[in-house]
């Protein structure tokens, strides 16, 4: 029995991989052959990055038993801040840090309201969902901001085709093409995913996050600073949402205060498909990323088929419900 239990998380991940394979095979057979080209996979990876990076933060929040509805608004605000700083003539680095810091500030704001006022996260972030969106529109004067093009616009764009041979001979060439498999934004996502996953599993802070979501009362009795853990989680998530905003800016090459409407629901859906419980205590980074990846594949597949968005929406909705229902059934059997 122990073996079975130990593998229950592996079970979940295997289920997600199978689900993705089913979706992928379906489109690979039905959609134009371009769908399963390496090129398209790479495009999907880039498209999925915005949701995926936000997913990392949302997973941590949901594991504590919280929720954040303000993700889309924060992403819009960050894209506007980066664009505005760039337009004002600051260097790309300053714009980048300014944007991510704005994301972090939103996270701290959420975290402080939740821990100090003792208002439930759903309500607090429903409020900041509107406040932050409003702030983005205010800063941008309800218009898009078009800064001059700089390297921030390349973070998530397709890497340039190689024009001259890389130095270092064969190995150098190999490294070069490996590095250029994805744009830097996708690499950043992969590195952050590993880092956050290890943080959750192997560090004291990570274990405290799970403890708080698993049994807050017990965590408090064990002397864990519950409020501080929550605050830090919202800060961390805010920073990650900031990076999501950076990717959004890079993709649009402009700051748009109306962008990313409803992004929070995509992100929450990915985390839930990935096996997290909204009651807290459960969830994994790998699961959430697979959830996001499934959703990206559906979206890419549907658009390749030339289907309207309503098909994609209904399919995604069904997948959310089915995946959670399967999970419930499995738990009941245990």
């Amino acid at each position: 029995m122990i073996k079975l239990l130990k593998s229950s998380s592996i079970f979940n991940l295997a289920g997600l991989v199978i689900a993705w394979l089913l979706v992928f095979t379906f489109f690979a057979l039905k959609a134009p052959p371009a769908f399963h080209s390496i090129d398209n996979l790479e495009t999907m990876a880039r498209q999925g990055t915005i949701v995926s990076i936000a997913t990392l933060g949302m997973t941590c929040i949901i594991i504590t038993g919280g929720i954040d509805l303000s993700v889309g608004s924060v992403v819009a605000l960050v894209s506007v801040v980066i664009a505005a700083l760039s337009l004002a003539g600051y260097s790309p680095w300053i714009a980048l840090f300014g944007g991510v810091a704005a994301g972090g500030a939103c996270g701290v704001f959420n975290g402080l309201l939740i821990t100090r006022l003792k208002v439930v996260p759903f309500i607090v972030t429903l409020g900041t969902f509107l406040i932050v969106r409003g702030a983005a529109k205010w800063i941008a004067h309800e218009k898009t901001i078009n800064p001059p093009v700089n390297w921030l616009c390349d973070i998530i764009s397709r890497p340039a085709k190689q024009t001259e041979p890389a130095p270092g001979g064969f190995i150098g060439q190999g490294l070069y093409s490996f590095w250029h498999l994805f744009p830097i934004g996708v690499w950043l996502l992969l590195i952050l995913a590993v880092a956050v996953s290890l943080m959750l599993k192997r560090t004291r802070f990570g274990r405290h996050i799970v403890a708080v979501g698993s049994n807050e009362q017990a965590a408090r009795l064990c002397g864990i600073p519950v409020e501080r853990v929550k605050l830090m989680v919202y800060l961390l998530a805010g920073l990650l949402f900031g990076l999501s905003g950076l990717m959004t800016f890079s993709r649009l090459t402009l700051g748009d205060p109306t962008v990313a409407q409803g992004l929070e629901l995509d992100v929450i859906a990915a985390v839930v498909i990935g096996g997290a419980s909204l009651n807290g205590g459960q969830g994994s980074i790998l699961g959430s990323l697979l959830g996001a990846w499934i959703m990206t594949t559906i979206s890419a597949g549907c658009s390749m088929m030339g289907w309207d968005t309503w098909v994609e929406q209904m399919v995604t909705g069904a997948i959310i419900i089915i995946s959670v229902a399967i999970d419930r059934l499995r738990v009941r059997k245990d």
Binding site: R204, R207, A211, S214, A218
Partner: protein, 487 residues
Amino acid sequence: MPFLSMTGICKHFGATVALDNVELNVESGEVHALVGENGSGKSTLMRILSGAETPDSGSISLDGKPFVPGNPMHARRAGIAMIYQELSLCPDLSTAENVLLGMEIQSFGVIDRKATRKRTEDALKLLGISDVNVDVPVKFLPIATRQLVEIARAVALDSRVVVLDEPTSSLTQADVEKLFEVVQILRKKGAAVIYISHFLDEIKRICDRMTVLRDGVNVGVRKVDEVDTDGIVAMMVGRRIDTIYPRSQRTQGEALLDVSGLFGRTKPANASLQLHRGEVLGIAGLNGSGRTEMLRCIFGLDAVKSGKIKVGTYEGTAKPAERWREGVGMLSEDRKLEGLALRMSIADNMTITKLSPLVSNADQAVKATEWIGKMGVKCQGPNQAVGELSGGNQQKVAIARLLFHGVDVMLLDEPTRGIDVGSKEQIYALIDQLALQGKAVLMVSSYLPELLGVCDRIAVMHKGNLGKALPVHETNAEAIIREAAGA
């Protein structure tokens, strides 16, 4: 100088005095019982010791040095371990992670899993447990093992004071024996063990001395082998028990509830009983033996696998709504979660099962006021939220709901759990009165003296199987305990 000494501890919450000049002295290598009714201040005293609550005045000394626990972390570091009746483990963390929660062993900012595992296994080994996989999330472990994990937490941190708060209330007899062995090991290690329990026979068995609290005041400190169980109860309650259980001359009428061969999904496993008009039938048994499940099956809340339930002339299973119509009412053991809607008013809670399609507040209030008077509920009025009342008054509201509905068959699950002695007495008197009026009362309780005091007949449940109901004068506490334990 005792190892742990709490002197002159006072604490009040608002107008109620929880602790008044309380004293507690525990030697190392001693198992010291802390005894008292619910609400006598035991929990508050322990919360103060563990740093979860600050006393208004008084002092604590530990190992001869003054000790002021600022917060739970501080107390844990000072070597005070609390093992609560509501388990304080995180279900999604592994055993090893739970044992060292808040005290993680780290190297270079990362948890040292090898050392964590080793320390946990060592602690478990010290307690004589070797068959637990410390990497499995504790939600997959049986309840009894979880409790041992909590104790391992105390051992792993080398705690010098270990507080066990009702540790056996959710354990089977075999697990209780295991727990007692573990307590002996702690004692041999020289820990000062504080043992809180309602089960006086347990206290007689494993404790050396006891401190008795009543209504937040010290009643006395005794060597356990110098007092008998009746003596302890008398100290707790403040008078001999026979005076608090009224029993009028009752006459049994026809059978109102007839259950035969009842099986639920897991429990009960073969339960048969007949409940007559004008009688109080008690159901004894250990926690988890399936008593609550039996009531839930009868009331249509849980699925019935097989067996017959006959209410008056109705036969077969039914949903709760039909039971209410048939004149059956149930009082849940969990007042706060199931029994009452705490934020709704007294009037709403009393009348909820019998509302006219168009609800008139004024009408509701009039009816509720009548029952508030009859039951002697202490409140500001029918519109006050039930959650603002004391436990005893909440319970009166919950019972008033059944009476307002006009039920004939009352299924009472732990009707006196968590309420003060005064309210208990009133509820005993009420049950007696109801039986006299011809109601049929089925009463589940874990508190033997009250079953023996209130009921006409008592049946014992063991692992889902309900034994034969015996007239109360043909049985006694020892016989019931033996039957409940399956011995």
